[in-house]
Symmetry: D2
Subunit: 259 residues, 4 copies
């Protein structure tokens, strides 16, 4: 069974900015899709969804049939409906993988899952970024031929990046102008895994960089749900009958308790 | 400077249930307050706030002047206004400590900070709970004279407890009926620390247990903000001027970017 | 390319104890091997090695050609040569996966990798163990049909288990007699992953339990090295030539420094 | 009761190198001692110990009466006796705090506690280091007035730094020449805490930097043992009598088992 990937993209910049359109004429989502397909081939089936489609392209049916969702957004985070954002976050808790890219650090579903403000520092100066692998052997680094990735021109993101301590820290970025950033982070929420990957400003051809494409695809594979696991339990059940005998007296005020 | 503690309590059960009133005639908050004062003495100044006060007793002024907030709630989580819950969560990110007790696992501010559903299993059978210390030497365990705490009768909470991986796991509970629970957990969100402590069902005299009182007070001390730290930055600033010279060309489309 | 597994076993109890021989007449290693092959089929090639073979069956050649090593030992930890233990630990840092079973908590390579004493509590009372899944969706739990595993009779291991905080906590055990134990733990050391799995006393048929066999095999798969990653760097290189120009004066006393 | 600090220093470079003697004429340990006393005043009593003293100044008596040990070493790690290194590591597990500085990353006790090789990259080019605070509000950052520390000239240490995932990551360094480093890390081993702090090359006046002195002192305070905690248990006791009745038959082969 292939991994069913939905590439979600805001798809606004490309319609209004010549600079962005010059780099991503058909939209960034098309580039994400191709990158994932090119790397993972038969392992995946990739579809796309964008903000301005009905329900942002994320109907219950689509979410239900998505194993991994990738997310790029920037100028229109506020236009994502709260209800959809909540549904995406809940699907992650139920086991769907989520790959959040670059300015997606402020995406509603990401913030809902993190519990923090996800602030950072930034600077647009087309500066050099070097992404260091701080977790040798990590599956997300497969296929990279060096212990770092060089990107000639990128937007800077700097610490403090206001996220919970990552469960796994895979990459740390160095920026020419004096900043560092935890740029590859993995968390688990419920039964779902989340991978945040920093690079990818819309005016730079970052997503054509072979190593960035590898990491994107590796991330999709890494957060994909494992077949055959027990489904996430979305309740707090009352387990009336214990598995072992209980000696104490049962002194419960039934009227009180509803979890 | 003493730690300014605000003990928040739902304070509903005591008004409607004889069983609860019998154990906590003046309300659980009064017992929390006394326990913290008794343990930490001059280290703290403790006030209380309850759900049915205006703004739930949590005005901006109160929150601003609170170093550590403790929270017990159960049957009326839904009556906490979303706006207040958001403000509490934000104050935590800004550095306020939060101690969440027992059924507070479903409290709105806690869920906002965790990013998960915070589900668990439960059973009311007045069963035995043994709380094991899995982090010897941890400041939260100071004053305990054994490596475990025995509670004769408690409500059971069982795994899976749907929380993010704790930054620090201090206690794991054993229950007579066959369950285990991560019952002492610490997380950081922004600049603030959160301590969740499991025991404390409203029909049992758990908060009169000397060890539970010690842990409650230790928790308050542990999550209290450190004086003299740099204030939390609640923005994503544009750092236009780099700290080191940048060689690349500045190719920015100014019109596009607003973080 | 299949995962090359070496099953290492102390293989002493079976030769001297009727009780153990009755359960594992051909040795526990034969049972481990079959369990892994039965679950992972063409994904693996499994060999065995035992303490009393030359070099404990762990020559440099064998270690070099092992992707995942499983380890069961108990009464003869002290007979494992320090030099071999060091080589095993180093191979893990270089990327080999390690699955440590039950009383292997005291195995020399495990202690070298943990940096702790790995003490625990224990009791042999043929008591009931219930192993709770505290990480829903984790790949190591694939194929289990419930959120816990019941084992009718086992040796008890209790907290405090003197290990570093696991990178991933997958299972927590409940024991009839009043104890809990972090019984499924994952750590990373260098480029290698380690999975510790608690159950498996030599006088009980634990390794014939279908769920235990699944977890054992899942563990092997989970700690297996990822193909195509950059090899572990076993040096501290002097990077004389920086990647970015340095403005400061070079004021180094060459005579001093050898890392 | 003040924190009893022992400042351990290799104290070799100062005797043979003019460059080092020029910066630290009386030895680096004297500077460490003064920095800690100046910051923590009555909170501490500080003594020193050096490599060339009998038992390296670390007799059983000294270790027993040390709450926090700080460690700087570089060219003579190999001269530290294995037996003393083992005793230091064991004292940490029993609750003593350890602050490891700069080239102490290769110190024997540190490596024993980490379980890894502790390799890194390095370059001596008197380059600029900027140490970013990635954990706002952390007690180790108290008294710093900015979110970073600038050091004009330092030796570079670069990733991958071969350590286990830190329990707490406090600082990440940026280096002018293109490298990053996890430069402030906390781990727990047994009941003891370890703080590694990167800066401090022997030919630079780093330890006269006011912010470095603050972090050093904060680190001492942070890893100091908490009074009143249950002592570390340095055994694996057989708990014959369970705390709860056990239904199963007792089928133990007594001859076999010695933990």
């Amino acid at each position: 069974m292939p991994i069913r990937v939905t590439v979600w993209h805001e798809f606004r910049h490309e319609k209004t900015s010549k600079a962005v359109k010059a780099v991503y004429p058909d939209g960034m989502h098309v580039v994400f899709k191709k990158a994932i397909e090119e790397q993972l081939k038969d392992e995946v089936v990739v579809k796309t969804a964008t903000l301005d489609e009905p329900l942002h392209g994320l109907s219950d049916e689509v979410l239900k049939n998505t194993d991994v969702l990738t997310w790029w957004g920037h100028c229109a985070h506020g236009d994502v409906k709260d209800e959809i954002a909540q549904k995406v976050a809940q699907r992650v808790r139920e086991g769907m993988g989520l790959v959040v890219l670059h300015s997606g650090h402020y995406a509603k579903p990401f913030k809902l899952l993190m519990g923090t403000n996800c602030h950072l520092k930034w600077r647009e100066a087309a500066e050099k970024e070097r992404i260091w692998n701080v977790s040798p052997g990590h599956p997300i680094t497969a296929g990279l031929d060096k212990d770092h990735i060089d990107i000639d021109h990128e937007e800077m993101y700097g610490e403090h990046f206001d996220i919970p301590t990552p469960d796994e820290l895979v990459f740390v970025s160095w920026f020419e102008g004096g900043d560092v950033f935890r740029s590859g982070c993995v968390w688990k929420r419920g039964a779902g895994k989340i991978f945040y990957f920093r690079p990818g400003h819309e005016t730079f051809p970052t997503y054509f960089h072979p190593d960035v494409r590898k990491v994107l695809a590796n991330g999709v594979r890494y957060v994909a749900p494992t077949p055959g696991v027990v489904p996430y339990r979305n309740t707090s059940p009352n387990i009336k009958i214990p598995l072992s005998p209980i000696a104490g007296e049962h002194v419960v005020d039934e009227a009180l308790h509803k979890h």
